[in-house]
Amino acid sequence: MTSLISARSLTKTYGDFVAVDQINFEVRKGESFGLLGPNGAGKSTIMRMIGATLQRSSGELAVLGKDPEKFGPQIRAHLGVVPQQDNLDSELTVRENLYIYGRYFGLSKKFLTPKIQELLEFAQLEEKRDVKVEALSGGMKRRLTIARALVSEPEILMLDEPTTGLDPQARHILWDRLFRLKEMGVTLLLTTHFMDEAEQLCQRLIVMDKGKIMAEDSPAELIRKYVTKEVLELRFGSDKNSLYVDELRQKCDRIEQLPDRILLYTNDGETLLTEIVGSGLHPITSLVRRSSLEDVFLRLTGRSLIE
Protein backbone atom coordinates (compact mmCIF):
# COMPACT_ATOMS: atom_id res chain seq x y z
CA MET A 1 0.00 0.00 0.00
CA THR A 2 1.22 3.48 -0.80
CA SER A 3 1.74 5.85 2.05
CA LEU A 4 0.11 9.25 1.63
CA ILE A 5 1.80 10.86 4.60
CA SER A 6 5.17 9.95 5.98
CA ALA A 7 6.91 11.65 8.91
CA ARG A 8 10.50 10.96 10.01
CA SER A 9 11.84 12.55 13.20
CA LEU A 10 9.30 15.32 12.64
CA THR A 11 9.91 18.10 15.17
CA LYS A 12 8.38 21.49 15.91
CA THR A 13 9.77 23.81 18.54
CA TYR A 14 8.68 27.24 19.70
CA GLY A 15 11.75 28.69 21.40
CA ASP A 16 12.56 26.23 24.18
CA PHE A 17 9.20 24.53 24.03
CA VAL A 18 9.11 21.29 22.05
CA ALA A 19 5.57 20.94 20.69
CA VAL A 20 6.30 17.90 18.52
CA ASP A 21 9.27 15.78 19.46
CA GLN A 22 10.92 13.60 16.78
CA ILE A 23 7.91 11.60 15.77
CA ASN A 24 7.63 8.94 13.07
CA PHE A 25 4.48 7.65 11.43
CA GLU A 26 2.93 6.72 8.10
CA VAL A 27 -0.63 7.11 6.88
CA ARG A 28 -1.64 4.74 4.09
CA LYS A 29 -4.15 5.22 1.32
CA GLY A 30 -7.70 4.41 2.34
CA GLU A 31 -7.13 4.03 6.04
CA SER A 32 -8.53 6.12 8.84
CA PHE A 33 -5.72 7.18 11.06
CA GLY A 34 -6.05 8.93 14.40
CA LEU A 35 -3.94 11.06 16.68
CA LEU A 36 -5.22 10.51 20.22
CA GLY A 37 -4.00 12.60 23.11
CA PRO A 38 -4.95 15.29 25.61
CA ASN A 39 -5.02 18.99 24.80
CA GLY A 40 -1.51 20.29 24.22
CA ALA A 41 -0.12 16.92 23.08
CA GLY A 42 0.93 18.45 19.74
CA LYS A 43 -1.87 17.02 17.60
CA SER A 44 -2.99 20.28 15.98
CA THR A 45 0.62 21.27 15.35
CA ILE A 46 1.14 18.05 13.41
CA MET A 47 -2.06 18.65 11.46
CA ARG A 48 -0.96 22.13 10.44
CA MET A 49 2.47 20.88 9.33
CA ILE A 50 0.80 18.21 7.20
CA GLY A 51 -1.67 20.81 5.92
CA ALA A 52 1.28 22.87 4.67
CA THR A 53 0.41 25.93 6.70
CA LEU A 54 3.09 25.57 9.38
CA GLN A 55 6.79 24.98 8.85
CA ARG A 56 8.51 22.18 10.71
CA SER A 57 11.64 22.84 12.77
CA SER A 58 13.44 19.67 11.72
CA GLY A 59 12.95 16.15 10.44
CA GLU A 60 11.32 15.01 7.24
CA LEU A 61 7.75 15.15 6.12
CA ALA A 62 6.22 14.02 2.85
CA VAL A 63 2.55 14.55 2.03
CA LEU A 64 1.35 12.92 -1.21
CA GLY A 65 5.02 12.34 -1.94
CA LYS A 66 5.93 16.04 -1.73
CA ASP A 67 7.58 18.30 0.82
CA PRO A 68 4.91 20.65 2.24
CA GLU A 69 7.45 23.43 2.66
CA LYS A 70 8.22 23.52 -1.05
CA PHE A 71 4.89 22.51 -2.53
CA GLY A 72 2.31 24.02 -0.16
CA PRO A 73 -0.34 25.05 -2.71
CA GLN A 74 0.14 21.87 -4.77
CA ILE A 75 -0.37 19.70 -1.69
CA ARG A 76 -3.25 21.75 -0.33
CA ALA A 77 -5.02 21.30 -3.68
CA HIS A 78 -5.56 17.66 -2.64
CA LEU A 79 -6.33 18.02 1.06
CA GLY A 80 -9.68 18.60 2.73
CA VAL A 81 -9.16 20.45 5.98
CA VAL A 82 -11.64 20.61 8.84
CA PRO A 83 -10.11 22.90 11.47
CA GLN A 84 -10.76 22.74 15.17
CA GLN A 85 -12.54 26.09 15.10
CA ASP A 86 -15.15 26.63 12.41
CA ASN A 87 -14.02 29.36 10.01
CA LEU A 88 -16.98 29.56 7.68
CA ASP A 89 -18.03 32.86 6.12
CA SER A 90 -20.87 33.69 8.48
CA GLU A 91 -22.43 36.36 6.27
CA LEU A 92 -22.86 34.01 3.32
CA THR A 93 -25.40 31.23 2.98
CA VAL A 94 -24.68 27.51 3.27
CA ARG A 95 -24.63 27.10 -0.50
CA GLU A 96 -22.48 30.19 -1.05
CA ASN A 97 -19.93 28.91 1.44
CA LEU A 98 -19.56 25.68 -0.48
CA TYR A 99 -19.39 27.57 -3.76
CA ILE A 100 -16.70 30.09 -2.86
CA TYR A 101 -14.60 27.41 -1.19
CA GLY A 102 -14.78 25.34 -4.36
CA ARG A 103 -13.75 28.40 -6.34
CA TYR A 104 -10.61 28.72 -4.20
CA PHE A 105 -9.58 25.39 -5.72
CA GLY A 106 -10.19 26.80 -9.18
CA LEU A 107 -13.27 24.61 -9.74
CA SER A 108 -15.82 25.75 -12.30
CA LYS A 109 -19.44 26.60 -11.69
CA LYS A 110 -20.43 23.73 -13.96
CA PHE A 111 -18.55 21.28 -11.76
CA LEU A 112 -19.67 22.86 -8.50
CA THR A 113 -23.42 23.02 -9.06
CA PRO A 114 -24.07 19.24 -8.93
CA LYS A 115 -21.25 18.78 -6.43
CA ILE A 116 -22.83 21.20 -3.98
CA GLN A 117 -26.18 19.44 -4.29
CA GLU A 118 -24.51 16.12 -3.52
CA LEU A 119 -22.70 17.57 -0.50
CA LEU A 120 -25.84 19.25 0.86
CA GLU A 121 -27.52 15.85 0.80
CA PHE A 122 -24.52 14.19 2.42
CA ALA A 123 -24.36 16.80 5.19
CA GLN A 124 -28.16 16.72 5.64
CA LEU A 125 -28.32 20.46 5.04
CA GLU A 126 -30.59 20.59 1.98
CA GLU A 127 -33.29 22.51 3.81
CA LYS A 128 -30.74 25.02 5.04
CA ARG A 129 -29.14 25.69 1.67
CA ASP A 130 -30.17 29.35 1.50
CA VAL A 131 -29.82 30.08 5.19
CA LYS A 132 -27.02 32.32 6.41
CA VAL A 133 -24.34 30.39 8.26
CA GLU A 134 -24.66 32.50 11.40
CA ALA A 135 -28.13 31.01 11.93
CA LEU A 136 -26.93 27.38 12.00
CA SER A 137 -26.47 25.22 15.11
CA GLY A 138 -23.02 24.05 16.14
CA GLY A 139 -23.58 20.58 14.73
CA MET A 140 -24.79 21.94 11.40
CA LYS A 141 -21.79 24.24 11.12
CA ARG A 142 -19.49 21.27 11.68
CA ARG A 143 -21.27 19.23 9.01
CA LEU A 144 -21.03 22.17 6.64
CA THR A 145 -17.32 22.51 7.39
CA ILE A 146 -16.87 18.83 6.56
CA ALA A 147 -18.93 19.17 3.39
CA ARG A 148 -16.83 22.19 2.45
CA ALA A 149 -13.64 20.18 2.90
CA LEU A 150 -15.03 17.54 0.51
CA VAL A 151 -15.91 19.95 -2.29
CA SER A 152 -12.56 19.42 -4.02
CA GLU A 153 -12.68 15.61 -3.74
CA PRO A 154 -9.55 15.52 -1.57
CA GLU A 155 -7.13 12.61 -1.33
CA ILE A 156 -6.96 13.03 2.43
CA LEU A 157 -9.66 14.44 4.71
CA MET A 158 -8.07 15.97 7.79
CA LEU A 159 -10.25 16.59 10.84
CA ASP A 160 -8.95 18.37 13.91
CA GLU A 161 -11.11 17.53 16.95
CA PRO A 162 -14.23 17.13 14.79
CA THR A 163 -16.78 16.72 17.58
CA THR A 164 -15.36 18.86 20.36
CA GLY A 165 -18.06 21.13 21.74
CA LEU A 166 -20.97 19.23 20.20
CA ASP A 167 -23.83 17.68 22.14
CA PRO A 168 -24.09 13.86 22.12
CA GLN A 169 -26.78 13.72 19.45
CA ALA A 170 -24.86 15.99 17.08
CA ARG A 171 -21.73 13.90 17.69
CA HIS A 172 -23.52 10.71 16.70
CA ILE A 173 -24.85 12.26 13.49
CA LEU A 174 -21.34 13.41 12.66
CA TRP A 175 -19.80 10.03 13.43
CA ASP A 176 -22.33 8.43 11.13
CA ARG A 177 -21.31 10.79 8.29
CA LEU A 178 -17.61 10.17 8.88
CA PHE A 179 -18.21 6.44 9.02
CA ARG A 180 -19.82 6.63 5.58
CA LEU A 181 -16.79 8.42 4.21
CA LYS A 182 -14.60 5.73 5.68
CA GLU A 183 -16.70 3.08 3.97
CA MET A 184 -16.37 4.98 0.70
CA GLY A 185 -12.61 4.60 0.99
CA VAL A 186 -11.73 8.22 1.82
CA THR A 187 -8.45 8.48 3.70
CA LEU A 188 -9.21 10.08 7.05
CA LEU A 189 -6.72 11.68 9.39
CA LEU A 190 -8.23 12.89 12.63
CA THR A 191 -7.20 14.13 16.01
CA THR A 192 -9.30 13.64 19.10
CA HIS A 193 -9.13 13.52 22.84
CA PHE A 194 -12.25 11.37 23.03
CA MET A 195 -11.37 7.72 23.29
CA ASP A 196 -14.81 6.60 22.12
CA GLU A 197 -14.37 8.68 18.98
CA ALA A 198 -11.00 7.11 18.30
CA GLU A 199 -12.41 3.62 18.87
CA GLN A 200 -15.33 4.24 16.53
CA LEU A 201 -13.52 5.90 13.68
CA CYS A 202 -9.86 4.92 13.62
CA GLN A 203 -8.42 1.77 12.13
CA ARG A 204 -5.02 2.73 13.41
CA LEU A 205 -3.88 5.42 15.75
CA ILE A 206 -1.00 6.90 17.62
CA VAL A 207 -1.35 7.77 21.27
CA MET A 208 0.39 11.07 21.96
CA ASP A 209 1.48 12.91 25.06
CA LYS A 210 3.65 16.01 25.36
CA GLY A 211 4.73 15.94 21.72
CA LYS A 212 5.81 12.30 21.78
CA ILE A 213 4.24 9.10 20.46
CA MET A 214 3.52 6.73 23.33
CA ALA A 215 2.12 3.85 21.26
CA GLU A 216 0.85 3.05 17.79
CA ASP A 217 -1.60 0.34 16.67
CA SER A 218 -5.28 -0.44 16.09
CA PRO A 219 -7.59 0.37 19.01
CA ALA A 220 -8.18 -3.34 19.71
CA GLU A 221 -4.48 -4.17 19.60
CA LEU A 222 -3.57 -1.27 21.87
CA ILE A 223 -6.08 -2.51 24.43
CA ARG A 224 -4.81 -6.09 24.11
CA LYS A 225 -1.19 -5.01 24.39
CA TYR A 226 -1.36 -2.53 27.23
CA VAL A 227 -4.33 -3.43 29.40
CA THR A 228 -6.43 -6.41 30.46
CA LYS A 229 -9.74 -7.29 28.90
CA GLU A 230 -11.86 -5.89 31.69
CA VAL A 231 -11.77 -3.27 34.41
CA LEU A 232 -13.44 -3.42 37.79
CA GLU A 233 -14.20 0.06 39.15
CA LEU A 234 -14.71 0.30 42.90
CA ARG A 235 -15.70 3.22 45.12
CA PHE A 236 -15.31 3.05 48.87
CA GLY A 237 -15.89 6.76 49.47
CA SER A 238 -13.31 9.37 48.63
CA ASP A 239 -11.34 9.30 51.88
CA LYS A 240 -11.43 5.50 52.26
CA ASN A 241 -10.27 4.51 48.76
CA SER A 242 -6.59 4.65 49.66
CA LEU A 243 -7.09 2.37 52.72
CA TYR A 244 -7.84 -0.61 50.51
CA VAL A 245 -5.42 -0.12 47.64
CA ASP A 246 -2.61 -2.26 49.05
CA GLU A 247 -4.93 -5.10 49.97
CA LEU A 248 -6.59 -5.06 46.53
CA ARG A 249 -3.27 -4.84 44.69
CA GLN A 250 -2.60 -8.53 45.49
CA LYS A 251 -5.77 -9.66 43.76
CA CYS A 252 -5.39 -8.22 40.24
CA ASP A 253 -2.91 -7.64 37.39
CA ARG A 254 -2.68 -3.90 37.90
CA ILE A 255 -4.35 -1.23 39.96
CA GLU A 256 -4.86 2.49 39.41
CA GLN A 257 -6.08 4.83 42.09
CA LEU A 258 -8.00 7.84 40.77
CA PRO A 259 -9.27 10.66 43.01
CA ASP A 260 -12.78 9.21 43.19
CA ARG A 261 -12.36 5.50 42.47
CA ILE A 262 -10.05 2.53 42.17
CA LEU A 263 -9.54 0.72 38.85
CA LEU A 264 -8.61 -2.96 38.98
CA TYR A 265 -7.38 -4.49 35.74
CA THR A 266 -8.33 -8.13 35.25
CA ASN A 267 -9.51 -10.49 32.55
CA ASP A 268 -12.58 -11.49 34.52
CA GLY A 269 -14.22 -8.66 36.40
CA GLU A 270 -17.20 -10.51 37.83
CA THR A 271 -15.09 -13.25 39.39
CA LEU A 272 -12.76 -10.69 40.92
CA LEU A 273 -15.69 -8.74 42.36
CA THR A 274 -17.15 -11.91 43.94
CA GLU A 275 -13.77 -12.69 45.43
CA ILE A 276 -13.37 -9.20 46.88
CA VAL A 277 -16.82 -9.17 48.42
CA GLY A 278 -16.14 -12.69 49.74
CA SER A 279 -13.02 -11.45 51.51
CA GLY A 280 -15.11 -9.04 53.55
CA LEU A 281 -14.67 -5.73 51.63
CA HIS A 282 -17.79 -3.79 50.84
CA PRO A 283 -17.40 -1.08 48.17
CA ILE A 284 -20.22 1.49 47.94
CA THR A 285 -20.43 1.02 44.18
CA SER A 286 -18.87 -1.44 41.78
CA LEU A 287 -18.83 -1.59 38.00
CA VAL A 288 -17.38 -4.14 35.60
CA ARG A 289 -16.62 -2.79 32.11
CA ARG A 290 -14.50 -3.55 29.07
CA SER A 291 -11.15 -1.81 28.89
CA SER A 292 -10.94 1.21 26.63
CA LEU A 293 -8.33 3.49 25.10
CA GLU A 294 -8.76 5.69 28.15
CA ASP A 295 -7.20 2.85 30.15
CA VAL A 296 -4.42 2.51 27.60
CA PHE A 297 -3.65 6.20 27.98
CA LEU A 298 -3.72 5.93 31.77
CA ARG A 299 -1.35 3.00 31.61
CA LEU A 300 1.06 4.78 29.25
CA THR A 301 1.12 8.20 30.89
CA GLY A 302 -0.32 7.78 34.37
CA ARG A 303 -2.85 10.49 33.52
CA SER A 304 -6.40 10.75 32.18
CA LEU A 305 -7.11 11.98 28.66
CA ILE A 306 -9.57 14.62 29.79
CA GLU A 307 -8.39 16.50 32.81
Binding site: G51, T53, L54, Q55, G72, P73, Q74, R76, A77, L79, V81, P83, Q85, N87, L88, D89, S90, E91, L92, E96, I100, Y101, R103, Y104, F105, G106, L107, S108, F111, R148, S152, E153
Partner: protein, 270 residues
Protein backbone atom coordinates in the same frame (compact mmCIF):
# COMPACT_ATOMS: atom_id res chain seq x y z
CA UNK B 1 -11.86 11.47 -8.93
CA UNK B 2 -13.54 13.41 -11.69
CA UNK B 3 -11.65 14.72 -14.67
CA UNK B 4 -11.94 18.33 -13.63
CA UNK B 5 -10.42 17.71 -10.23
CA UNK B 6 -7.62 15.61 -11.62
CA UNK B 7 -6.73 18.15 -14.26
CA UNK B 8 -7.12 21.34 -12.36
CA UNK B 9 -4.17 23.57 -11.99
CA UNK B 10 -3.00 25.01 -8.77
CA UNK B 11 -4.66 28.41 -8.56
CA UNK B 12 -2.73 30.83 -10.68
CA UNK B 13 -5.69 33.15 -10.44
CA UNK B 14 -6.07 32.74 -6.69
CA UNK B 15 -6.43 36.46 -6.05
CA UNK B 16 -9.39 36.66 -8.43
CA UNK B 17 -11.23 33.93 -6.54
CA UNK B 18 -10.79 35.99 -3.40
CA UNK B 19 -12.16 39.02 -5.26
CA UNK B 20 -15.16 36.92 -6.29
CA UNK B 21 -15.78 35.92 -2.68
CA UNK B 22 -15.44 39.52 -1.52
CA UNK B 23 -17.95 40.64 -4.15
CA UNK B 24 -20.43 38.04 -2.92
CA UNK B 25 -19.96 39.46 0.54
CA UNK B 26 -20.32 43.10 -0.54
CA UNK B 27 -23.42 42.20 -2.52
CA UNK B 28 -25.14 41.48 0.82
CA UNK B 29 -24.50 45.11 1.72
CA UNK B 30 -25.40 46.56 -1.67
CA UNK B 31 -28.07 49.00 -0.50
CA UNK B 32 -25.81 50.39 2.24
CA UNK B 33 -22.93 50.71 -0.21
CA UNK B 34 -24.97 52.53 -2.84
CA UNK B 35 -26.70 54.80 -0.34
CA UNK B 36 -23.37 55.80 1.19
CA UNK B 37 -21.86 56.39 -2.25
CA UNK B 38 -24.61 58.90 -3.11
CA UNK B 39 -25.40 60.48 0.27
CA UNK B 40 -21.80 61.15 1.27
CA UNK B 41 -20.99 63.52 -1.64
CA UNK B 42 -24.41 65.17 -1.61
CA UNK B 43 -24.17 66.00 2.09
CA UNK B 44 -20.60 67.26 1.82
CA UNK B 45 -21.36 69.42 -1.18
CA UNK B 46 -24.40 70.94 0.45
CA UNK B 47 -22.84 71.65 3.82
CA UNK B 48 -19.22 72.47 3.09
CA UNK B 49 -19.13 73.27 -0.59
CA UNK B 50 -22.27 75.34 -0.91
CA UNK B 51 -22.65 76.50 2.71
CA UNK B 52 -19.10 77.48 3.57
CA UNK B 53 -18.38 78.16 -0.09
CA UNK B 54 -20.93 80.96 -0.27
CA UNK B 55 -19.33 82.58 2.78
CA UNK B 56 -15.83 82.27 1.35
CA UNK B 57 -16.83 83.44 -2.09
CA UNK B 58 -18.78 86.40 -0.62
CA UNK B 59 -15.77 87.49 1.39
CA UNK B 60 -13.03 86.87 -1.16
CA UNK B 61 -15.05 87.56 -4.29
CA UNK B 62 -15.36 84.87 -6.96
CA UNK B 63 -11.94 83.45 -7.73
CA UNK B 64 -10.73 84.18 -4.22
CA UNK B 65 -9.22 80.78 -3.44
CA UNK B 66 -6.56 79.75 -5.92
CA UNK B 67 -8.36 81.74 -8.59
CA UNK B 68 -11.55 79.67 -8.60
CA UNK B 69 -14.86 79.26 -6.81
CA UNK B 70 -14.53 77.60 -3.43
CA UNK B 71 -16.50 74.55 -4.51
CA UNK B 72 -14.17 74.02 -7.47
CA UNK B 73 -11.18 74.36 -5.18
CA UNK B 74 -12.63 71.87 -2.72
CA UNK B 75 -13.89 69.26 -5.20
CA UNK B 76 -10.64 67.32 -5.95
CA UNK B 77 -9.85 67.09 -2.23
CA UNK B 78 -13.28 65.72 -1.44
CA UNK B 79 -13.00 63.22 -4.28
CA UNK B 80 -9.62 61.96 -3.10
CA UNK B 81 -10.68 61.76 0.53
CA UNK B 82 -13.78 59.78 -0.42
CA UNK B 83 -11.52 57.35 -2.26
CA UNK B 84 -9.25 57.06 0.77
CA UNK B 85 -12.15 56.49 3.15
CA UNK B 86 -13.70 53.88 0.86
CA UNK B 87 -10.43 51.99 0.45
CA UNK B 88 -9.79 52.03 4.21
CA UNK B 89 -13.26 50.69 5.04
CA UNK B 90 -13.00 47.93 2.50
CA UNK B 91 -9.55 46.69 3.57
CA UNK B 92 -9.82 47.01 7.36
CA UNK B 93 -13.09 45.16 7.98
CA UNK B 94 -12.40 42.11 5.81
CA UNK B 95 -8.88 41.87 7.20
CA UNK B 96 -10.00 41.99 10.84
CA UNK B 97 -12.73 39.51 9.95
CA UNK B 98 -10.30 37.23 8.14
CA UNK B 99 -7.64 37.09 10.81
CA UNK B 100 -9.67 37.66 13.95
CA UNK B 101 -13.45 37.54 13.91
CA UNK B 102 -14.36 34.72 11.54
CA UNK B 103 -10.81 33.55 10.77
CA UNK B 104 -11.87 32.86 7.20
CA UNK B 105 -8.41 33.79 5.84
CA UNK B 106 -7.26 30.56 7.46
CA UNK B 107 -9.94 28.70 5.56
CA UNK B 108 -8.80 30.30 2.30
CA UNK B 109 -5.22 29.37 3.12
CA UNK B 110 -6.12 25.70 3.61
CA UNK B 111 -6.84 25.60 -0.14
CA UNK B 112 -4.18 26.23 -2.82
CA UNK B 113 -4.62 29.97 -2.18
CA UNK B 114 -1.53 31.69 -0.73
CA UNK B 115 -1.22 34.56 1.72
CA UNK B 116 -0.14 36.93 -1.07
CA UNK B 117 -3.20 36.03 -3.10
CA UNK B 118 -5.52 36.66 -0.16
CA UNK B 119 -3.96 40.09 0.45
CA UNK B 120 -4.09 40.98 -3.24
CA UNK B 121 -7.67 39.75 -3.60
CA UNK B 122 -8.93 41.77 -0.63
CA UNK B 123 -7.07 44.79 -2.00
CA UNK B 124 -8.40 44.54 -5.55
CA UNK B 125 -11.96 44.06 -4.29
CA UNK B 126 -11.56 47.11 -2.05
CA UNK B 127 -10.38 49.20 -4.98
CA UNK B 128 -13.31 48.06 -7.13
CA UNK B 129 -15.72 49.20 -4.46
CA UNK B 130 -13.73 52.43 -4.12
CA UNK B 131 -13.96 52.99 -7.86
CA UNK B 132 -17.74 52.82 -7.67
CA UNK B 133 -17.69 55.43 -4.91
CA UNK B 134 -15.33 57.67 -6.90
CA UNK B 135 -17.34 57.49 -10.12
CA UNK B 136 -20.57 58.40 -8.32
CA UNK B 137 -18.80 61.21 -6.47
CA UNK B 138 -17.27 62.52 -9.68
CA UNK B 139 -20.61 62.71 -11.46
CA UNK B 140 -22.19 64.52 -8.55
CA UNK B 141 -19.33 67.03 -8.62
CA UNK B 142 -19.82 67.39 -12.36
CA UNK B 143 -23.52 68.09 -11.92
CA UNK B 144 -22.68 70.62 -9.20
CA UNK B 145 -20.49 72.43 -11.73
CA UNK B 146 -17.29 71.90 -9.77
CA UNK B 147 -15.31 70.36 -12.64
CA UNK B 148 -14.73 73.03 -15.29
CA UNK B 149 -11.92 71.54 -17.44
CA UNK B 150 -11.80 68.77 -20.04
CA UNK B 151 -9.11 66.86 -18.13
CA UNK B 152 -11.25 66.64 -14.99
CA UNK B 153 -12.14 63.01 -15.62
CA UNK B 154 -8.50 62.09 -14.95
CA UNK B 155 -9.01 63.25 -11.36
CA UNK B 156 -10.87 59.99 -10.77
CA UNK B 157 -7.67 58.06 -11.36
CA UNK B 158 -5.67 60.36 -9.15
CA UNK B 159 -8.24 59.82 -6.41
CA UNK B 160 -7.96 56.08 -6.97
CA UNK B 161 -4.21 56.35 -6.63
CA UNK B 162 -4.65 58.05 -3.26
CA UNK B 163 -7.13 55.39 -2.20
CA UNK B 164 -4.75 52.70 -3.42
CA UNK B 165 -1.79 54.15 -1.54
CA UNK B 166 -3.69 54.59 1.70
CA UNK B 167 -5.47 51.27 1.24
CA UNK B 168 -2.30 49.23 0.79
CA UNK B 169 -0.70 50.77 3.89
CA UNK B 170 -3.88 50.11 5.89
CA UNK B 171 -3.99 46.55 4.57
CA UNK B 172 -0.54 46.03 6.04
CA UNK B 173 -1.27 47.78 9.35
CA UNK B 174 -4.56 45.92 9.85
CA UNK B 175 -2.87 42.59 9.20
CA UNK B 176 -0.63 43.35 12.20
CA UNK B 177 -3.52 44.04 14.55
CA UNK B 178 -3.95 41.51 17.37
CA UNK B 179 -6.35 43.46 19.60
CA UNK B 180 -8.82 45.44 17.56
CA UNK B 181 -10.83 47.14 20.33
CA UNK B 182 -8.97 50.41 20.20
CA UNK B 183 -7.61 50.09 16.70
CA UNK B 184 -10.43 51.36 14.50
CA UNK B 185 -11.21 54.38 16.66
CA UNK B 186 -7.52 55.21 16.92
CA UNK B 187 -7.02 55.05 13.17
CA UNK B 188 -10.07 57.21 12.57
CA UNK B 189 -9.30 59.90 15.13
CA UNK B 190 -5.53 59.99 15.17
CA UNK B 191 -4.67 59.42 11.52
CA UNK B 192 -7.53 59.88 9.09
CA UNK B 193 -9.14 62.93 10.68
CA UNK B 194 -5.90 64.97 11.10
CA UNK B 195 -4.80 64.10 7.57
CA UNK B 196 -8.19 65.13 6.27
CA UNK B 197 -7.95 68.47 8.08
CA UNK B 198 -4.29 69.30 7.43
CA UNK B 199 -3.73 68.17 3.85
CA UNK B 200 -4.65 71.42 2.17
CA UNK B 201 -8.17 70.11 1.87
CA UNK B 202 -10.13 73.22 2.83
CA UNK B 203 -7.49 75.87 2.08
CA UNK B 204 -4.08 75.81 0.39
CA UNK B 205 -1.40 74.03 2.40
CA UNK B 206 0.82 77.11 2.03
CA UNK B 207 -1.61 79.18 4.11
CA UNK B 208 -0.96 76.93 7.12
CA UNK B 209 1.89 77.62 9.59
CA UNK B 210 5.11 76.10 8.22
CA UNK B 211 5.37 73.79 11.21
CA UNK B 212 2.12 72.03 10.25
CA UNK B 213 2.88 71.76 6.55
CA UNK B 214 4.87 68.49 6.82
CA UNK B 215 1.62 66.73 7.77
CA UNK B 216 0.50 67.53 4.25
CA UNK B 217 3.76 66.42 2.67
CA UNK B 218 3.45 62.88 4.06
CA UNK B 219 -0.26 62.71 3.39
CA UNK B 220 -1.41 60.90 0.24
CA UNK B 221 -4.43 63.17 0.33
CA UNK B 222 -2.36 66.31 -0.21
CA UNK B 223 -0.42 64.79 -3.11
CA UNK B 224 -3.61 63.57 -4.76
CA UNK B 225 -5.37 66.86 -4.12
CA UNK B 226 -2.57 68.83 -5.78
CA UNK B 227 -2.69 66.58 -8.82
CA UNK B 228 -6.48 66.69 -8.81
CA UNK B 229 -6.57 70.51 -8.73
CA UNK B 230 -4.17 70.61 -11.64
CA UNK B 231 -6.48 68.36 -13.62
CA UNK B 232 -9.85 69.83 -12.63
CA UNK B 233 -9.19 73.57 -12.88
CA UNK B 234 -5.60 74.02 -14.00
CA UNK B 235 -4.10 74.80 -10.59
CA UNK B 236 -0.56 75.92 -11.36
CA UNK B 237 2.03 73.30 -10.50
CA UNK B 238 5.50 72.54 -11.87
CA UNK B 239 6.27 69.49 -13.98
CA UNK B 240 8.70 68.40 -11.29
CA UNK B 241 6.00 68.49 -8.61
CA UNK B 242 3.63 66.50 -10.82
CA UNK B 243 6.35 63.86 -10.93
CA UNK B 244 6.93 64.05 -7.18
CA UNK B 245 3.24 63.63 -6.37
CA UNK B 246 2.87 60.73 -8.75
CA UNK B 247 5.99 58.93 -7.55
CA UNK B 248 5.10 59.50 -3.90
CA UNK B 249 1.68 57.92 -4.34
CA UNK B 250 2.83 54.96 -6.44
CA UNK B 251 5.77 54.25 -4.13
CA UNK B 252 3.52 54.25 -1.09
CA UNK B 253 1.11 51.93 -2.87
CA UNK B 254 3.90 49.51 -3.78
CA UNK B 255 5.48 49.62 -0.33
CA UNK B 256 2.16 48.98 1.40
CA UNK B 257 1.42 46.00 -0.82
CA UNK B 258 4.87 44.52 -0.34
CA UNK B 259 4.63 44.78 3.45
CA UNK B 260 1.07 43.45 3.42
CA UNK B 261 2.06 40.44 1.32
CA UNK B 262 4.86 39.60 3.70
CA UNK B 263 2.77 39.98 6.81
CA UNK B 264 -0.24 38.06 5.48
CA UNK B 265 1.99 35.10 4.66
CA UNK B 266 3.76 35.31 8.01
CA UNK B 267 0.60 35.56 10.07
CA UNK B 268 -1.11 32.69 8.28
CA UNK B 269 1.81 30.36 8.94
CA UNK B 270 2.28 31.26 12.57
Amino acid sequence: MTLEVAQREVSRFGALYIVEARFKNMFKWRSAIITAAILNPVLYLLSVGVGIGSLVDAKQGVGGVDGVQYLTFLAPALLASAAIQGAIDEVTFPTLQGFKWAKNFFAMNSTPITGNQIALGVYIAALCRTFLTVVVYWFILLIAGALPTGTAWLAMFVAMLAGGAFGSIMLFITSKVEKEDFFLTAIGRLIIMPLFLFSGTFYPLSSMPLILQPIGWISPLWHATELGRYLTYGHSISGLMIGVHFIFLTSLLALGLKLAFRNFTKRLSK
